[in-house]
Amino acid sequence: MENLKYIIESLLFVAQEPLSVERLKNVLNTAGASDIKNALKELSDEYETRKGSFYLNEVAGGFQIRTRSEYTSWIKRFIQPNPPRLSRASLETLAIIAYKQPIIRSDIEYLRGVDCGGILRVLLKRKFIRVLGRKELPGRPLIYATTKRFLEIFDLKDLKDLPTPKEIAELGNSATDKTDRDFFNDTKSTDQDKGNNT
């Protein structure tokens, strides 16, 4: 199997964790352990000769394609808040603020049933929300609202464009998807004749 090297490469490429020779053998059931080891060696040699941004790393009883440490500083500059990720709790808090703004902390906490101080700080820091002012109530609590950045992140022109939960609910449940005969797995569909892309 001349191509073994690249078949293994493709598997290492998509794998989320290091792959052991054993594991590779199970997938490539015609190839023996020594073939696989040779191919891995060839692959590693190729990467070393090429001196590109990645190398074959033997780790945790397996092999993994990794970026070389020379590139770490670039990769770090690249690490992105994109796509923005939030914890479930933060997202709930943000949702409440989005739909109920302007709103004070105690009302948010009343809706969520738990303390939100830490989360509000995070949301403020990440500029998802901002302080509008203080409410004329004992203790003069801060009033929260969403920011322009919030609109950007959720790709909305303005707050009026925020679909209401009711509208989404009215789309109906995904009952239609039950009839979802898995289209792409359907052998009848058109996936036979496209072995070659590029």
Binding site: F13, R85, L86, S87, L111, I168
Partner: protein, 237 residues
């Protein structure tokens, strides 16, 4: 011939009236620009009839199409008057949307025939810990849908007076308050959910909800939620 139609139906339920029409046209090998409207209408109606006889609930769309077909058919029967000379073929009413539908189906085929990510091609796998610092808490990618979802969940579990901005007829709210008070006169407390099971329809739910909020505000009732079960109970004061 009808048997023939039915056999296909059982294995392959049509999604909508358009699907059925396309099937009939292909099956009869007729020209889409010159649909034998009487034949197609008849077969279409036969099919609907059959569905009914099978106790299959018919989507309204099928009925609408049946009406359209029948109408087109009767228009075809009318002798063409001189005024009608430059009028378009009544069948256009069927042909045009049908052509659009077919084009869209072919577009869908084109899409599914592409090199699909996750099916025909793959991107590099990542173990997230490598490059992302998010650890501990379950972090989720957020989008509009997640945001709405989160709010929906809150709405589902809500027990507050925060929904007063929902518009509803204030008179029916007052009515509902008195209905709820009626319940309270019989029993001292009632669970939140019980109040809603009274009335099924959506606007009723909102009205009931507003009524409860109003009552809480007026200090007519007190609400308490069970820490473990999460059940909300209303007490008449």
């Amino acid at each position: 011939m009808p048997d023939d139609i039915y056999r296909v139906q059982i294995t392959d339920i049509f999604e909508g009236p358009m699907d059925l029409l396309v099937h009939l046209i292909i099956k009869n090998e007729v020209d889409i620009y010159d649909i034998p409207i009487a034949l197609i209408t008849k077969q279409y109606l036969d099919y609907i009839q059959w569905l009914k006889s099978m106790n299959i609930e018919l989507a309204g769309d099928f009925v609408v199409m049946a009406a359209t077909l029948t109408q087109v058919k009767s228009k075809m029967l009318l002798p063409a008057t001189e005024d009608d000379e430059d009028q378009e073929d009544p069948r256009q009413e069927i042909t045009r949307p049908l052509m659009e539908y077919l084009q869209l189906k072919s577009a869908a085929d084109d899409l599914s025939g592409r090199t699909l990510l996750g099916k025909d091609t793959f991107t590099k796998g990542h173990d997230d810990e490598d490059y992302f610092i998010d650890q501990g808490e379950d972090m989720i990618k957020i989008g509009l849908f997640e945001l709405i979802d989160a709010f929906q969940k809150i709405l589902k579990n809500i027990s507050s007076d925060h929904l007063v901005d929902l518009t509803a007829d204030s008179i029916s709210v007052k009515d509902r308050i008195s209905e709820i008070v009626d319940i309270f006169e019989k029993q001292n407390s009632v669970t939140f959910n019980e109040l809603f099971s009274l009335k099924a329809d959506k606007s009723d739910v909102i009205v009931t909800f507003l009524a409860i909020l109003e009552m809480v505000k007026l200090n007519l009732v007190k609400m308490a939620q069970h820490a473990q079960t999460g059940i909300i109970r209303l007490f008449y004061i």
